[in-house]
Amino acid sequence: MSDGDEAEEERPSRVARTGAFVDDRLGLARMARTTLRKVFPDHWSFLLGEVALYSFMVLLLTGTYLTFFFKPSQSETTYEGSYDALRGVEMTRAYRSAVELSFDVRAGLVMRQMHHWAALVFVAAMVVHLARVFFTGAFRRPRELNWIVGVTLLLLGIGNGFTGYSLLDDQLSGTGLRIAYSIVLSIPLIGTWITSLLFGGEFPGPDLIERFFVLHILLVPAMIVGLLVMHLAMVVHQKHTQFRGPGRREDNVVGERIWPTYAVKASGLFFLTTGVLAALGGLAQINPIWIYGPFEPSEVSAASQPDWYIGWLEGALRAMPAWEPRAFGFELPNPFFAGVLLPGLTFGLLYAWPFLEARFTKDRDEHHLLDRPRDRPVRTALGVATLAFYSVLFLAGGSDVLATEFGLSVNQLIWSVRLSVFVVPAAAGLVAHRLCRDLAARDAEPPDAPSEAAPPSGAPDPVAVADEEPEPDDEQPIAWPPPVAVSRTGLPPAHPLGS
């Protein structure tokens, strides 16, 4: 420090000086303090969205690195790199650069595999986060708009995952693109036009990889970033929801201040997420394109499996009966049902859900206290049935693999899927409804014996609190008969958390 060391003890701290410099110019002190003091409720399930956010940050970092080496070009070339099995093979520059960045760029393979794993975890975390928001009713007024932003983020995440693994031009991605082409082609009236404009002609199309590259690294990520900012800004502005508990009301929010504990914890979660993705990227092989080989339109291998988040679509395509309505010389091609109608309905219903539920329950009030799933048996049953429906389809997406594994015939398997897709969700929904009722009834009973979950009185043991799951046992409520007044009948239930 050259400027006046002797005045050291009178000078404000460096933090204060920097703060003053910024504040003189922008006047943000008040806002910044409010931000530091912001209260965020603590529950493990509120971290799911954060995991999605951190996976996306890993995607941006690793993806940027990959763009320095990947060449999005369909021009033909011959491989001359260090992987023996492909030397001398004709391929596109896209595929070649992907193989080269895996074998000949130091740390390239780790980055590529981390990128792919991060994409799988990103979508998975969004789906689980969406389920949390659904089952706890966090989408209700005033958060319908944020639900819409969130569903859009899921849609974009799935879309960018698909364009991502389609870029490499290996045998597997080519097969996926071929099916995607056929799905778009099946749209009445405009399908032939859209495919021609999107692919630049008939499949495989001359410009596909260059176009998907721009979508994948610029357009869609920019939309995701914009929507993520909106998503988080709305959470900050509206304040997070919270579970019911002593002192927690509709008109307050109880939890931890952002600074310092919550901020440190959240940074820790970022590093943990990134670390797990790095371990996966280093140790768990994913999408080994050098084994699949370059894309040959006339070839396809058995057991071609898409990434997990496309599995339900693949399953629906397989399980769909051979219907193809025709009239007046026109037809509705079969892939339309599974490839266009089903995803259209899925996302249409997702978007509409907050409004549909408000209409059916006639509950248009503001809610900041979360439901426990058991308190809303019908919603929970519908959610469980929906998850079961997509799980059956997901399994059907691997029907050939399952058939080989378990020595069944593919035909029997598909027929059982066609049946299960109706029976399993119905059964799962009924069981869930029943469970909710039983749990809620048990909560309502006065406990006849001292429950083992009875918390110790007084301050919690610091060691127990420091456990990974923040389990605020002593803050858990007693029975919550759904929306009506809370009756405190005794000790907390044995299983305080319904979610």
């Binding site: 130091r106 056929s182 990134t274 051979a322």
Partner: protein
């Protein structure tokens, strides 16, 4: 907002302190190790593990710190109503409407601006048309033409006897090997008399029949042949086609038979196409039958 009660850092337990120190030390070591591994040529698994340890070390350290040592006071914040005060809404509405009147009174200008923007928007839609050709008849035709030889991936022409009995061979029209929609399956069965309706017998050459290789469901190549049952299977969605009966679909989502190709033999005995397939190949589209 009321000020918090005095914040307190919790007394560090030995375990917590030790845990943080170990985690962060491991992280430092792993980071240095990563630099060493990288500079010595790199090794994917080691890089992944070291990167993971260096990140997880920081993560574990931060989480233990936050959970065990940093203040854990519960704070409460009031939730203010989200909607604005009625007078604010009213003031805003008045302001908006005043401006709207000023703008709206010039009907002609507003109309012309709307018209200009509309025309511009319409004009900007047209460059999208440059993205691809008009679908046209391309979807209805392939590279097959009368007299065109059928060649393998190595560009070798094929005689009927080159195909093993009960075997299949993928071929393309000569000079059109890069056209994805022209790939064709030649299937040689054991005996001519096995063919039944609706196989066009005059389109076969002896015991050899030719079908489009593209599945009529989603366009995947129908690459698996079960010779004992004469079934072609699509590996994508398991549509199954009966070769002896005109490749009609017998299982799976496909509804249409694989289009048959009229086969012939040229003067040198090589298999040729005598024309295009009997219908559009591959996945369906709305005006396919037109």
């Amino acid at each position: 907002m009321t000020p918090d009660p005095e914040r307190h850092a919790r007394p560090a337990t030995r375990q917590a302190y030790l845990g943080i120190v170990v985690a962060l030390s491991l992280s430092i070591l792993a980071g240095l190790g990563l630099a060493v591994v990288y500079s010595r040529g790199g090794q994917a698994q080691l890089e992944g593990v070291l990167l993971a340890v260096s990140l997880l070390g920081i993560g574990v350290g931060l989480v233990i710190w936050a959970q065990r040592m940093l203040p854990d006071d519960e704070a409460e914040e009031a939730r203010k109503p989200l909607g604005s005060a009625p007078e604010d809404v009213a003031a805003f509405t008045t302001e908006l409407e005043r401006g709207e009147e000023a703008i709206g009174s010039r009907r002609l200008i507003v109309g012309l601006i709307t018209g200009g923007l509309g025309a511009l928007g319409l004009a900007l839609v047209f460059p999208i048309r440059s993205l691809g050709p008009r679908p046209g008849r391309g979807l209805f035709t392939t590279g097959m033409a009368p007299g065109r030889r059928l060649v393998t991936a190595d560009e070798q022409p094929v005689r009927a006897e080159d195909i093993p009995v009960a075997g299949i061979l993928t071929v393309w029209p000569e000079g059109h090997q890069d056209e994805a929609d022209s790939s064709t399956l030649l299937i040689r069965v054991e005996d001519e008399s096995l063919f039944t309706e609706p196989v066009k017998l005059d389109w076969t050459v002896g015991t050899v029949v030719a079908y489009s290789k593209l599945c009529t469901h989603a366009g995947c190549p129908v690459g698996l042949y079960q010779a004992d049952e004469h079934l072609l299977l699509c590996p994508c969605h398991q549509s199954t086609f009966e070769v002896l009966a005109g490749a009609r679909p017998v299982f799976g989502p496909a509804t249409r038979a694989l289009p048959q190709l009229p086969l012939g033999v040229d003067e040198e005995g090589f298999l040729v196409a005598r024309g295009d397939f009997e219908g559009p190949v591959g996945a369906g589209f709305w005006d396919r039958s037109r």
